[in-house]
């Protein structure tokens, strides 16, 4: 047949074929060589998808590894309004799942936008319900949500993280750089249907999670402290309360409770006043608890000895044209009794014998007027004025805990120094930082700031403070079977209207440690504006006793006074 074609026709056919191949070749060169770079970028754009992945925020655990805060991926739902046929129908279907009013959802879905959030960080079950519904124009993405499984427990220390996962308060804020997960961009290959095939470059891996923090806090001790504090604040109809439990030998915070509590899972509905950690931000006039430090300074400086006799002026003494009163009309008493009976006159006299400069030096040595440098944000300095600004009565006033502002944390750290034999320890709440695989990155050891008093002085002050509980104002702080030491405090608050001391508003406190021969716990209880009995010995001391008894039992600390075996035999 081919042979029958004329030569002319064959030439035309060949020419046509050559032209065809020429066109193909030209197009090939245009696409593969001339437009190669531009088209390659276009192709990549269609085949590849760049996503930002963020590693999970680190977990926070107590000293026994119990989870206090952790991230869980939860669904967030969005809409693509300009692809919806019937926004009202979609809104009706979503409303019962998202627990949002139909009208509100419809308003969002009618917007002239290509993306709108409908609900963020919902419960996982809501996400599963949405998946089953499979609505067009509605999408679900997973986002990390912070959970605080213990609810209000330790909320003032933990703080909380915001909607976008950034730490806003407490440990969450202070250790943001450790807790935050790594952010990483990843390029995924997509097929014609938009499905992900595999990441470009398999070695990229997923972003690493944030570091985990181990606290010095013990969940059980924290629970006991919060329960007893809440109970005391409720019974006294007080405005608020604070309690701190420290290990006096290391400065490790075992519990830090603030009443009223709040739930960090639902923090958006609360005012900032509610989540402020009063234990380290709010300064108060300590009242008679300051006499413990004054006694330590006076004994260390050999101004007095525990058996030095002091005249109590029968309850009235004039200093700088003002009268100092005692609640008990004392005559000659020993210095130990001055502290045990909480004599203002005895404390003022001892303070004046110590003198302005030495008193100020010891206030600074005990850490008043400075931050303790605890690893929590927002710590206050309290208020210790420069001696240049002191009035004629200031030495007497400060010796009995007036004209000075301290935070509960400063006070318990100072008392812990007497408990441990004279060393001021830096309080701390984080003991370990671990990476996402659980390897320890950093261990935070106890830090000694300085020696304030000698061990001998500390022992003398401890004996005096034991007397406060056995024979003095702190009888209700006694813990059966254990020798405890401490000091009561009842301070009048300044009335902001008159600028003078209020006759009705008080701060009742108790601070001490137990057992005295080998202190395991240093504690402070501060009750703000108790409405019934305002005395520290009546309102705060019982909390010290109840918490101490339960925590010592929980820690398995043997009592000072052994009980004979015969007493334990069961009765028939």
């Amino acid at each position: 047949m081919a042979g029958s074609l004329s030569r002319g026709r064959r030439c035309v056919l060949l020419l046509l074929l050559l032209c065809g191949f020429g066109v193909v070749l030209f197009r090939l060169v245009t696409l593969q060589v001339l437009q190669a770079a531009e088209l390659s970028v276009k192709a990549d754009r269609q085949h590849q998808k760049t996503v930002t992945l963020e590693g999970a925020r680190g977990t926070i655990v107590d000293r026994h590894g119990k989870i206090l805060a952790m991230n869980v991926e939860v669904p967030s739902v969005f809409g693509v309004p300009n692809t919806l046929d019937s926004p009202i129908k979609t809104a009706r279907q979503l409303s019962p799942i998202l627990h949002v009013r139909t009208e509100e959802l419809e308003r969002k879905l009618r917007q002239d936008r290509s993306f709108v959030w409908l609900a963020r960080k919902m419960d996982p079950e809501q996400g599963r319900q949405l998946d089953r519904l499979s609505l067009d124009g509605i999408g679900v993405v997973m986002e990390g949500r912070r959970f605080y499984p213990k609810g209000p427990l330790l909320a003032h220390v933990l703080g909380f993280a915001g909607m976008d996962g950034e730490g806003l308060e407490g440990v969450e804020h202070r250790y943001e750089s450790h807790l935050r997960g790594e952010k990483r961009m990843m390029v995924l290959q997509r097929d014609a249907l938009g499905r992900t095939v595999f990441p470009k470059g398999m070695t990229e891996g997923s972003p690493t999670s944030g570091h985990s923090l181990t606290l010095t806090i013990d969940e059980v001790i924290q629970y006991i402290a919060e329960r007893e504090l809440e109970d005391a604040v409720g019974r006294a109809q007080a405005k608020s309360g604070t309690m701190i439990v420290l290990d006096p030998k290391t400065g490790a915070v075992l519990a830090m409770a603030v009443s009223p509590r709040f739930d960090p899972n639902t923090v958006s509905a609360l005012s900032p006043d509610r989540w402020r950690n009063r234990a380290l931000t709010d300064a108060y006039e300590p009242g008679s608890t300051m006499k413990a430090m004054m006694a330590a300074a006076a004994i260390e400086e050999r101004v007095v000895r525990p058996n030095t006799m002091v005249f109590g002026e029968h309850g009235h003494m004039t200093v700088a044209n003002t009268v100092i009163h005692d609640h008990e009309r004392l005559g000659w008493v020993s210095f130990a009794q001055v502290i045990q009976k909480s004599s203002n006159i005895g404390a003022a006299k001892t303070g004046m014998a110590l003198g302005q400069q030495r008193l100020y030096r010891y206030l600074q040595a005990f850490g008043f007027g400075q931050r303790t440098e605890i690893d929590l944000p927002g710590e206050g300095t309290g208020l210790v004025r420069n001696p240049r600004d002191w009035g004629r009565r200031s030495v007497a006033s400060i010796s009995m805990g007036q004209e000075i502002g301290v935070t509960p944390l400063q006070m318990v750290a100072a008392v812990a120094a007497i408990a441990n034999g004279g060393l001021l320890m830096k309080p701390y709440v984080i003991s370990e930082i671990r990476d996402a695989d659980g390897h320890i990155l950093r261990q935070i050891p106890p830090q000694t700031k300085r020696r304030i008093i000698s061990q001998e002085t500390a022992r003398s002050v401890t004996k005096i403070l034991e007397g406060v509980i056995t024979d003095g104002t702190g009888a209700k702080a006694a813990i059966r079977g254990f020798r405890a030491a401490g000091k009561t405090g009842t301070a009048q608050k300044i009335d902001p209207r008159t600028g003078s001391y209020s006759a009705t508003r008080f701060v009742a406190s108790f601070t001490g440690y137990v057992p005295t021969d080998n202190p395991q716990l240093a504690m402070i209880v501060v009750i703000d504006e108790p409405q019934r009995d305002a005395w520290g010995g009546a309102v705060a001391a019982p909390v010290f006793s109840r918490v101490g008894e339960q925590v010592l039992s929980y820690l398995g600390v043997p009592p000072n006074e052994p009980v004979m075996l015969a007493m334990t035999s069961p009765r028939s």
Binding site: I67, G151, L153, D191, V197, G481, P558, P559, V563, L565
Partner: protein, 110 residues
């Protein structure tokens, strides 16, 4: 000879195409496994939060007091028995201090 060369060439093309298809298939499998892994990790985290919430001291104390009728031992109801030197076992091991908690009931029952 020509036929063999064409056949070998055809086989090589087949192997190449099969390899490419297999790479894509394995890519899908890897992605599916990754999704499964993420879902399981998510479930694990949800369960960890749940365990933590259920083991909260607050909740346990509430259940103990309200459902089981338990109460905290009052003063004097915890008796700690300390070991004495005579209690030391011949092996040299000192017995651990024993804690006895008993709920005193007026009828005399323990």
């Amino acid at each position: 000879m020509k036929t063999v060369a064409v056949f070998v060439g055809f086989c090589l093309v087949l192997v190449f195409v099969w390899e490419r298809v297999d790479v894509v298939r394995i890519g899908y499998e890897i992605e599916q496994l990754k999704r499964d892994k993420t879902a399981l990790e998510r479930q694990r985290d949800e369960l960890r939060v749940k365990v933590s919430a259920l083991s909260a001291s607050d909740r346990i104390a509430k259940l103990a007091t309200e459902k089981l009728g338990m109460s905290l031992p009052q003063q004097g109801q915890i008796i700690v028995v300390q070991s004495r030197p005579s209690d030391v076992h011949p092996s040299g091991v000192v017995p651990v201090g024993l804690k006895v908690a008993r709920n005193y009931v007026p009828s005399g029952r323990l």
